[in-house]
């Protein structure tokens, strides 16, 4: 066999070991019991397939509420972003009006500003209006997406004006045109936007860490990170069970929508 083919097999094998291995270890650890973990932390297979770590995690913290909080937050953000990006993108792509360039410029500037830059003033401001530890405080700052607005605008540029004019002649309202006529045409873009946004905010640790101290509004990444901080000591099987609970939904979404996600991430065909 030629050298470069050998090399590429070796690389593929290395990638498989280095990337599948840690996941495997996470799963195996989560199926162990504490005595087993202390006795033989390196055994590559649990003595018995036990879900005791999951039960313990589930009973020690309100995991169901954390999952519900996280899903609700990510869903609200993703839907709100789509609902707002559609009319805004429509106006920027299709309508002539005074101040259009300025409006588009503002959207582009916001594309460059990450939450890691704005969190100090936003945290103080939301504190003053009493939105710390509320769902609104978690959702509102991300309600409008500069990226989403930009992507919807780009996608609408290739939709012919005649379609919209014909609908207007039929007496369609603006809301009808945007949400009923154009939204289905933009489905690939909107699906990509939804996926990116949902996955990002499900995983997000930073903003819930800044905005919440209250158990009732806590999201799952925070809760799992706390599992370790709260003195679990050597009880890594619990932390890994939490890790599986945190990552499994995202890995399922990933498995089901891999093509869309990859297209969204590589910014191809949007």
């Amino acid at each position: 066999m030629k050298l470069h083919l050998v090399l590429s097999r070796v690389l593929a094998l290395a990638a498989a070991i280095l990337w599948v291995g840690p996941y495997w270890w996470m799963l195996i650890t989560s199926f162990k019991t504490l005595p087993e973990l202390l006795e033989s932390p390196l055994s590559p297979w649990p003595a018995t397939l036990t879900f005791s770590a999951y039960r313990e995690v589930w009973l020690s913290v309100p995991m169901a509420r954390y999952l519900a909080n996280t899903a609700l937050m990510a869903l609200q953000i993703a839907l709100l972003q789509i609902a707002l990006a559609l009319p805004a993108g429509f106006a920027l792509a299709k309508l002539h009006f005074v101040g259009k360039k300025i409006a588009f410029g503002l959207v582009l500037v916001c594309l460059l500003v990450p939450a890691q830059v704005t969190f100090v003033p936003v945290f103080l401001f939301l504190g003053q209006v009493g939105l710390v530890n509320t769902m609104a405080g978690l959702v509102l700052p991300f309600g409008a997406s500069a990226l989403g607005t930009f992507l919807v605008r780009q996608a609408l540029l290739s939709v012919p004006d005649e379609l919209i004019e014909a609908a207007r002649l039929d007496g369609a309202s603006d809301a009808y045109i945007v949400y009923v006529l154009l939204a289905p045409i933009l489905r690939p873009t909107l699906a990509a936007l939804f996926l990116l946004s949902f996955v990002f905010h499900w995983n997000d640790y930073f903003w819930p860490l800044v905005m919440t101290t209250d158990d009732r509004i806590r999201t799952i990444p925070l809760a799992i990170a706390l599992l370790r901080e709260q003195g679990t000591g050597v009880r890594w099987h619990l932390v890994m069970a939490g890790n599986v609970i945190l990552s499994a939904p995202i890995l399922v979404v990933f498995a089901l929508t891999q093509k869309h996600l990859i297209r969204a991430v590589t910014a191809k065909g949007l």
Partner: protein, 288 residues
Amino acid sequence: MKPAHRAEPYWMLAPTLALLGLFFLYPLFVATKQSLYSWDLLTPAKYVGFANYQVLWERGELWRAFRNTLVYSSVVVAGSMTFGLAFALALDRPGKVAGFVRSAVFSAYVVSWVAVALLFMWLLDSEMGLLSRLVAFLGLPKKNWLGDPDIAIYTLAVVSVWKITGYAMIVFLAGLQDIPPVLHEAASLDGAGALVRFSRITWPLLRPSASFVGTTSLIISFQAFDVVRIMTQGGPVHATELFVYAIYEQIFMNLRVGRASALVVVFSALILGLTALQLRVWRGRGTA
């Protein structure tokens, strides 16, 4: 097109612009103003001019945050691009096995930083961790991966490379797919070996993908926070204090809004500078 009503475009844009303005633009002005005040969130704010910047500079905190971030980002960008390119080349072929490995590598980019950080803390656990035991088994010197100030930042960087290599790989794979196979076939017929084909065909045509990945992952790594907060809390002795973590520490641990804001102002300028660089690189790819 003419709007149906004169007000139509404005109400369509209003919610988006209001939220973006309130949560992205206005905070930049507020931070700039607050960076000139001394405020502990309890007593009234006091105007201090540029004292916050001066203190941060003289104590070396500003330089430390910048240097740490630069070291971390350099390793992350170089590492993830190298592995990403190597894996893209090795896995750019049909078949279930290659597809599975591609998905495994990319999935790390999709799962939470929290999960990845905790998983590696377990693997690196000094007593029972798989990697620590492996190092001992191979007879290599025992290292305190997260507790040694000379090593910790590189540990964080390597974990981050594991996390985002899939991103680089996916972009490189997309780039590889745009290269017409006929180029390689023609070169092969002319007797060009794999190395020559890579340096004369593949790499020149992948350059745009490389600059895209490079600038994007540079900006991503400059904003790193989760991995620091979970794995080291900026320690030991501030050795892993990256920029965003330094800001977080100033406001939530030291209750110094003014100093946090001064760091925000400098950090924003850095991010904007990097983005300007990114746009230049991207524009360059259109004309080159």
